[in-house]
Subunit: 383 residues, 2 copies
DNA sequence: GTCAAAATCTGTAACGATACAGTAGATTTG
DNA sequence: CAAATCTACTGTATCGTTACAGATTTTGAC
């Protein structure tokens, strides 16, 4: 043991003494002598010289002073480094807990470059926030068990979606990024891949690049939806699809068309609006379609919000759910089920998506290969 | 001018030269001489000695090297400090913009203690995220125009609501905090006031403490709601109120009772559930109340989600909106209006709340007195 | 009992920014 | 014309942490 037991005891009690009185002057010189002759003129004193004031936030220096150890030793002890004695580690951990030590994030960040931040890039447009909100919760659930903080990096639809990504990359604002509204050829993905920056996408891409993602199986959703409508005797089916620019547009279309073929139904065109349109627009387009010749007898909605507008349009055209027409919708909240239980809802779990993406991004930061960080979730029939 | 025009030109062009070749060795000594005799042995070289690599993120050092100025000068020039020459400022700003300089947040934070972070303390419970989501957008809108980042600090209902606040206070994770679900005697408010920490609350308190807040006038909402129901000939009114622990419970109750008196209506007890109960519980309680003796002919809901459950309960009891009963609800999303246009909705703008709170907290950080940072918003009749 | 290896502990320098206390030279003052 | 003042700029120290390169003591081998 490099320190005598006697001095160990003396130093561990310093804190209490210091609060009572300034015994420092009498203790420090003796301390310097105890250090042995290895000190030249330049190093007159130890690192942790002054008693850190008790009401300031404790730092490594505080613990170093209280234990009589060096700052480096304390740092390494708290990291469980192999070159620190077991007893020392125990002692340091105990005192750290007692004084409520938290590593200073700025210090760590400055020294190591690690921000311990995950950035969620969020569109400020009203239409999408309903979806991302449970995602925030899912992400938070995971990050709460880690050192990571979640920071929201917003952008508006009127600006370049690359802007927030560039911002994070250029300023080093985060260790990893989560993006939504993924496109098949997504320039944000290309940029982050090129810079070798950890990220996860909500939705897949089609660029031959391997990166972490979480996606909902929208192909399966649309396929199952067609099946369920056909089972109810519906044959002329209309799809309210996502905007064509987004990746899951194609997935949903593919599943829809495969379903039509496999179950023997036909498609009713409904291409004037998509899920990015306002509810009012969707409602109007739906009403018009329903009043037209050969209206659909089955409808599939790619989101819960869209379904509400479709229901309104259908009813405005004088049709009645379950009697004249059936509907399958992806669900985000429960409201639809309370007010129109006739609508068949398949659940997409955004909270799960948040959890999966947070886990994936952290794993990617820690070096895990992207191939192992791609997950898919499946539609679940509600009730 | 302390630097000759000649050397100014030479140094401003260094960047290009450096990228082409390592001319540093020939330039630096001449540079050192140009500094004059004020340097003793300890200060052999200037601060900005080595050429910062062109692909690293630019720092003050980079700009200092490129301009031939000292790091301090660059720092002060970018802050528009009064002791820097106008021409120098211009030159520094130009180069800073050209190289895409962003101050390193960790550096600033470590040195000044300023985090440039606002923390939004968020409950992870599903019931509330619908409300806080537009608030996130509002906050982001404001912060996007500033240096502040928004970090989400979550807590779950099963843990102490003081935990996240203590965390921020103890770790110095943010310069300011925004909290929701404010209580009349809110321990979080007491704690932050005591520590003199900037914050804003969504909702008022009743502790005789002056602090920034934004609140919706729930008293007015309930009062107006009663009036609207009475105007439709309703007299027996039921209120789905917020949980009694929250501040706005009392506001809403007060407005409700004042409305009853002023407009001559009576209250139908509905105290088995509140807005924190699940939709299923609210629905069941409502149905039971509607099937009981002397049911209400008017209902007021303190939230849009609750209204959906109430509508379901009313209809399950065989009653019909507008015919047997009328309803006024605070609205959060538009769904209710599409599916039950009979319900009268008064809008509470959570996005505005986010904007107001963000502005208030920043102003508080900048030292503005809390008395000037208290705002109220009013119900707006939808359509 | 000597010497090398192993086990523990250590100080210094650096990350990027800013507060502070200067300094050099130009300009004004008496 | 010397002293004081002003202008414009500067280096050093520091925030809290960790990488790195020692330093000291203990242990073990022979």
């Amino acid at each position: 043991m490099p320190l005598s037991h006697e001095s160990y005891i003396r130093r561990a009690n310093l804190w209490g003494l210091l609060q009572a009185n300034a015994v420092l002057a009498t203790l420090r010189p003796e301390y310097g002598k105890a250090m042995g002759g290895g000190m030249d003129e330049k190093h007159k004193s130890r690192q942790a010289t002054l008693p850190p004031s008790p009401n300031e936030r404790p730092t490594l220096k505080t613990i170093a002073f209280m234990t009589g150890l060096g700052i480096t030793t304390v740092s390494r002890a708290l990291k469980d480094a192999p070159d620190i004695g077991a007893e020392t580690k125990e002692r340091v951990r105990l005192i750290a807990a007692q004084v409520g030590y938290h590593p200073n994030r700025a210090g760590v960040r400055l020294r190591t470059g690690k921000t311990n931040v995950i950035s969620l890039i969020l569109s400020l447009e009203e239409e999408f926030i309903g979806l991302t909100s449970p995602m925030v919760v899912g992400i938070s659930e995971i990050l709460a068990t880690t050192q990571y903080h979640l920071v929201i990096t917003p952008y508006s639809a009127r600006s370049d979606p690359l802007d927030p990504v560039r911002y994070v990359l250029d300023t080093g604002a985060a260790d990893g990024v989560i993006i939504s509204r993924t496109e098949p050829k997504d320039p944000r993905v290309a940029l982050m891949m090129q810079r070798n920056f950890p990220f996860g996408t909500h939705g897949r891409t089609e660029m031959g690049l391997v990166h972490p993602y979480h996606d909902f199986d929208n192909e399966r959703f649309a396929y199952d939806a067609v099946r369920m409508l056909v089972e109810r005797g519906r044959r002329r089916i209309m799809l309210l699809h996502p905007p064509p620019s987004l990746s899951y547009h194609m997935h949903m279309r593919t599943g829809f068309e495969r379903g039509l073929r496999d179950f023997g139904a036909t498609s009713v065109p409904f291409n004037t609006v998509d899920l990015d349109n306002s509810l009012a627009d969707i409602r109007a387009a739906c009403e018009e379609a329903m009043r037209g010749p050969d209206p659909a007898d089955g409808v599939i909605s790619g989101s819960g919000g869209g379904a509400v507008a479709l229901v309104a349009g259908i009813e405005a055209a004088g049709l009645k759910l379950a009697r004249d027409i059936d509907m399958v919708s992806k669900q985000s909240n429960d409201f639809l089920q309370w007010l129109r239980p006739e609508v068949i809802t398949l659940r997409e779990d955004f909270r799960l998506a948040g959890r999966e993406l947070a886990k994936a991004v952290i794993a990617r930061i820690e070096g895990q290969p992207a191939t192992e960080l791609q997950t898919l979730s499946f539609p679940v029939l509600q009730n």
